[in-house]
Structures are given as structure tokens and as C-alpha cells.
Symmetry: none
Subunit: 206 residues, 4 copies
């Protein structure tokens, strides 16, 4: 794994520092006011040097978004095996998703409000067949099917259900981010109720 030279490791460290600084600014002042100068100031280097590690500002922002999205999906992935009970799995997944997203609010909003092909290419999940292309949808679908073992859902319905659950969860998350003033207790109640109750109801058919 560590076939990197010291130089390469140093460079990677620097890149990470830059991205970390950018992320910090994004969280404090908003994604839109990330600036090379502010990053430079935060890492205590000159603006110029940043161009040694990134071609331009855009590249930084892109990687920021990507890493944000990545963190989300990986954290989601890691939460899957916890339990065999599909209902419980669905609960945990939902909660994990919301909580992880709340850690990178700005990136989350950007990623999910942006409708440029460049972004939706990675983030879209409403298209037909998404349960095969999108890991998250796939995982939800699996939960749903495991919850109704003997019955047979129509394939399409299960996918639509999974997609609805994903979109709904995203909606709750976005709203929680937008309403950042919400009292902590209420915030907790919303998260609990949505992931423990609502999601399960959505996943079931009578």
C-alpha cells in the first residue's frame, strides 16, 4: 500500500490539508465563499503554492464535492452488515445517511441541488434501473425484499419504493440543513421518527 515515496506522501498530505481547509471554510462561511486566499491563509502558505497541487480553484471544489459524496456513500456502505434484520438495517442506514450528511451540510446541498449533468451523472437515482446502478438504491431495495420474504413484489414497484425512500430521506436531510436553527430536541425527534417509523412504513405494503 505504501509504495509512495516520501515526496509523494508529503504532496498528498498537502493536498489533504488544502481540502480540509476548504471544507472548514465551506462549513463556516458557506461553500460559495471558499477562496484560494482564504485557504492559503488557513494553511499558512501563500496562495501561489496551491497551484502546485491543484490546477485551479475548480479542481479543488470538485474534489471537495466528490470527497463529500464519497464519504456519504462509503459510510452508508459500511453500515450495511450490522444486522440481519432487514427492518433494522433499513433504520440504521437511514439514520446513518442523515447523520453523515449533516456533517457536510454545504456539500450535501450543493451536490443535491445541482442539476448539471456533470453532477447528476453521479447523483441521479430516479431513473429506471437505478437499483442496479446505484448502490444505495440497491441496498434499500434489498431491505424491502428481505422484509417481505415469501411475497413477490413486482420488481418495478420495489424499485420505485426504494427510490421514493431515498428521495424522501434526502428531502428530510435537506430540510434539516436548511432549518439549521431547529432546537436540538426537535431535530432529534424528527430524525428518530423518520428513520424508525416512517421509513419502515414506506417499505411495507399491507
Amino acid at each position: 500500500m505504501s509504495t509512495l515515496t516520501r515526496r509523494e506522501r508529503d504532496a498528498q498530505k498537502m493536498k489533504d490539508d488544502i481540502l480540509a481547509a476548504a471544507r472548514e471554510i465551506s462549513n463556516q462561511e458557506g461553500f460559495g465563499s471558499i477562496s484560494i486566499r482564504k485557504i492559503a491563509h488557513k494553511i499558512e502558505y501563500t496562495p501561489s503554492i496551491i497551484y502546485h497541487y491543484f490546477a485551479n480553484k475548480e479542481e479543488i471544489l470538485e474534489q471537495l464535492l466528490q470527497s463529500g459524496y464519497l464519504k456519504l456513500t462509503t459510510s452508508l456502505a459500511s453500515s450495511k452488515m450490522i444486522t440481519d434484520d432487514p427492518e433494522e438495517r433499513l433504520r440504521v442506514m437511514t439514520r446513518t445517511y442523515i447523520e453523515e450528511a449533516l456533517k457536510i451540510p454545504e456539500e450535501f446541498v450543493i451536490v443535491h441541488s445541482d442539476s448539471s449533468p456533470n453532477v447528476t451523472k453521479h447523483t441521479s437515482f430516479l431513473f429506471k434501473g437505478a437499483s442496479e446502478k446505484r448502490k444505495a438504491i440497491h441496498m434499500i431495495k434489498k431491505c424491502i425484499m428481505d422484509m417481505h420474504p415469501q411475497e413477490e413484489w413486482e420488481e418495478e414497484m420495489v424499485e420505485l419504493t426504494a427510490q421514493s425512500i431515498a428521495a424522501a430521506t434526502m428531502g428530510v436531510t435537506l430540510k434539516l440543513i436548511a432549518e439549521s436553527n431547529l432546537e436540538e430536541a426537535q431535530r432529534k425527534k424528527i430524525i428518530d421518527y423518520f428513520s424508525d417509523e416512517m421509513v419502515v412504513r414506506m417499505a411495507k405494503h399491507e
Copy 2:
């Protein structure tokens, strides 16, 4: 109707042009990169003149947001009566909301992604007691209660359910907007399935 002088009409036209230009920029490059200069360039005037019609940039942005929000709520309000069956009412409301929002996609995104107090003051609905302060939440709550006539839900649970439904609907809507490339048939399926099936499931407890 026309108690305005020509002057006033011209002035109103100019204001509208400015707002239209701003809206267009917002759609093309994002809300955050609206600038007085760009607006001026689009309407083929000097930046200065804009200050003849608006006190400052903020006023423009505010009016932009307001007009977006206004269109939505009025369209929602007008859809409320229709039928006595609460389940059917919930279905229609959801569908109406989604369809109306899709008619003003840009404004919708702006209004629901913005977390500045100025905006959330009007758009927040996750707070405790929202079912009394927010007409939409109230209407959803009423549907839920009418669907379970003899039983008594705990008040708080009903509100949380209504809030979840609202947030979920918003999430689906936003996702539909972001995925503007979605095939028409699939788009229709998502809307149908979500408003006809999912929302009803969310509103029911076993």
C-alpha cells in the same frame, strides 16, 4: 386595474426586467452568482441604473425569493377542497404540490435550499408546532386524522408524520428537478407512485 400612469408602468416593467434577468442568471449559473453587473449586461443598461429601481442587491434577491415562494403557496392553497375522502385529498394535494413546483423549478430550488433566516422564516416547517403555523402541514395533519377517525393518535406523532410527509414530498420534487433529463414516462411513474402509494402508506399506522 390600470390606475398606474405610464411612468409607473414603465418603471414596473423595468423592475420586472431586472428580476427576470436575475432569475435567468440564477438558472444558468446559480443563485449565488447573480451580480449587478451581469444583470445590467443582460438588460443592456448600466449597473448604476439598477440602483434607481432597487435599493441594493439584497433587495433584488429578496424579491426573487419572495416571488418564487408566493407562486407556490398560492397554487397549493387553491387545491385544497375537492373531495371529502381524506386519503384521496392527501393524494391530490401531494400531486398538485409536485406538479406546481415543477412549473417553477428554479424558484423552488432557491427557496428550499436557502438557509438564511430571511427565507426560512417563511419556509421552515420542521419546528414543533408547525401544524398550527404552517397551512400545508396543517392540511396534511387533518388528512391523517380524518383517515383514522376513531383512534387517537398522539398529537405529537401526527405532527411528526405530517412533517415527514412534507419533507419527503419536497425531496422527491427537488430530485425530479435536479434530474431534469429523466424520461417522461419514468417521471410520471415516480410522481404517480409517490403520491398515490407512498404518501398514503406514510400517513397510516398499522
Copy 3:
């Protein structure tokens, strides 16, 4: 005196209003931030109309300074006959000068700091022979001479004394303006002491 038509009287009134507004702005925000727009706003007219009464901003500022200087010298002139006692007359003149100047602080500073010929043409008084060309110096000189009836001062010395007194008084005034935070009691003491004691000492030779 009133050979003015109504139109002319109205016009004069407007001019006065404009100058009054300008003066007010000068006192509140400083001479340097007088602007046509602010004046217009204050008199509740459009900026444009101001150009009906004044050729441009400069003309307004000029008249403002002139009127300020005028008020000062006329107020000074009017204070001369109060008493026959030359010592008392000098005291009153000094005090009057300071107090009147403090009513138009900005204009006073401008007028007396400006070294452009256009201004010094009116305000200079250190030149040889000033006691004949400048009313104020003349008046001070008269006081001094009346205070030493039988003796004969050398003409030149009296003028130099008068000039020194005038410059000194101006210095005290300027300093009082610059130190606008001075406590009221202390301000009063300075004025009292300077006009009652110091000026008289300056005017006397042993």
C-alpha cells in the same frame, strides 16, 4: 428692498433651502460628504432640480463657505458697539467670535485650513497693513489703542499684536472644534479663560 417678484422670492427661498440642507449635512456628516443627492433627499426634491438653482455642486459649496464666513464677520461686527470700555469690548468680541465659529465648525475649519488663493484672498490677515484691510484686525487694533490712551505704541507693533490675537483666537477655536469630545465644563473654562484673561494680557504691554 422687496422689489423681487414672487417668482424671484420663491427662487431665493429654494436656494436658501438648498444651502440650509447642505449645511445640515455638513454638520452631521462632515463637509466632505455633502452630496447633491443627499441635499435633494433632505429638501424632498429630485437631484435634477438643484441644477436649476445652482450651476453645479461647487457653486453650492462656495456659497456655503462664503455664507459661513459672512455670518462670522457680521456677527463680529454687530458685537462691537456694546460697550465703550475697550477691554470689555475685546473680551466680548473674542467670545462672540469663538461661539459663532463653533456653530459652523466644518465651514470654519475648511475656510481656515484652505491655502488656495481663492480662499486666502478673503481670509488672510497676517500681511502688513491688514489692520486697514481686515475689519476684524482693525477692530482689535482699535481696542488695543483705546486701552492705552496716552501712550503711543508703534503703529507696527499694534498691528502685530492685533494679528497675533486674531491668530491665537483662531487657534483656540480650531482646537475646540477638533477636540469635540471635550467635556462641556472644560470647554467653557477654556473659552472663559482665554477671552477674559489671555486676550487682555496679550493686548497689554507693561
Copy 4:
């Protein structure tokens, strides 16, 4: 002496150039119309680069004022000893002050016309207790008291006298600066008469 690297020296040179340009503008058009753009134009650079050397415009103006004030007070301090005769000391001090001030006319005017707290914080001397806080006032007071050895002045009166003398001297100086056209002979007479005669009269009580 030269512990500065070439870089640092260059930077200092640039700073000095900027300040010099600002000073020049101040002399030509007045302190109030110093602008970043004008400075940039004078030094033949872009406005932006100025922010490389100064945080903002205010910092430039501040340093301008400070350097002016500094030059004066240091020159005054160095003139204090000379003789034991208090009357003679007062004469020399006054003359020195005037002559030094005339060497830096622009800065002198700026410093003594500005009434912003930032400046008066250093330059005010009319406040009660100034003879303890301000070296110049203290030195004048000492002269006065030494001139009346056995008698006892009321403390307060001595301070007021010293303050009056300082303000008067400042007034004469300002006037000499404003009347820059004054003939050399007359200028000399004014300075001589004021510092040799008037100041001494002011310092004495009968």
C-alpha cells in the same frame, strides 16, 4: 543597520512610495481626496497591489498622520534644554515649534485639523489634566511656574494658561501655513513678535 533582506527593502521602498504618493495628493488636492486609485496612478501600478502592502485605505491614512505627528513631537522634544531662564526657554520653545512645523506644513495641517478620535487621541491637549499627559503642555507650564517663583498660581490657572499658549501658537502656525504667500520679512516679523513678545505676555500675570 542593514539587517533587512533585499526583498524587505524593496517592500519598504514600495510602502514609502505609496505613502509619498498619498502625501503628494493630500498636498495638491487635500487630505480628503486621497484615493487608492489616485495613489495607484501616481506610482504607476494597479490599485490592487496597494492592498499587498496595506490592509486598507485607513491604514495608509493612519500612517500618514502618524509620520506627520512623529516628526513634530520629536523635533520639539530635542529643543527643550538650552537655558535656565524660563522666559527665554519659553521663547525658544515657541520659535522652535513654529519653525519645525513650517518644515512639514501638510502633515501639520492634517494632524491638527482632523477631529477623528484616532487622531485626537494623540493630539488633544485642551482636556483637564493635559499638563500631566502632554509633554508640550507640561513644558510650557513649567516655564510659567518658573517665571513666578515665589507666588502661587492656582494650579488650574497655570494649566489653562499653558493650554491657551499652545493653542495660540498652533493658530499662528496654521495661519502662517495657510498664508503661504506672505512676504518673507513679514513672516519673520510675525514669528519674532509672537514668540518673543506675545507668548511672554500670555505667560505673565500682573
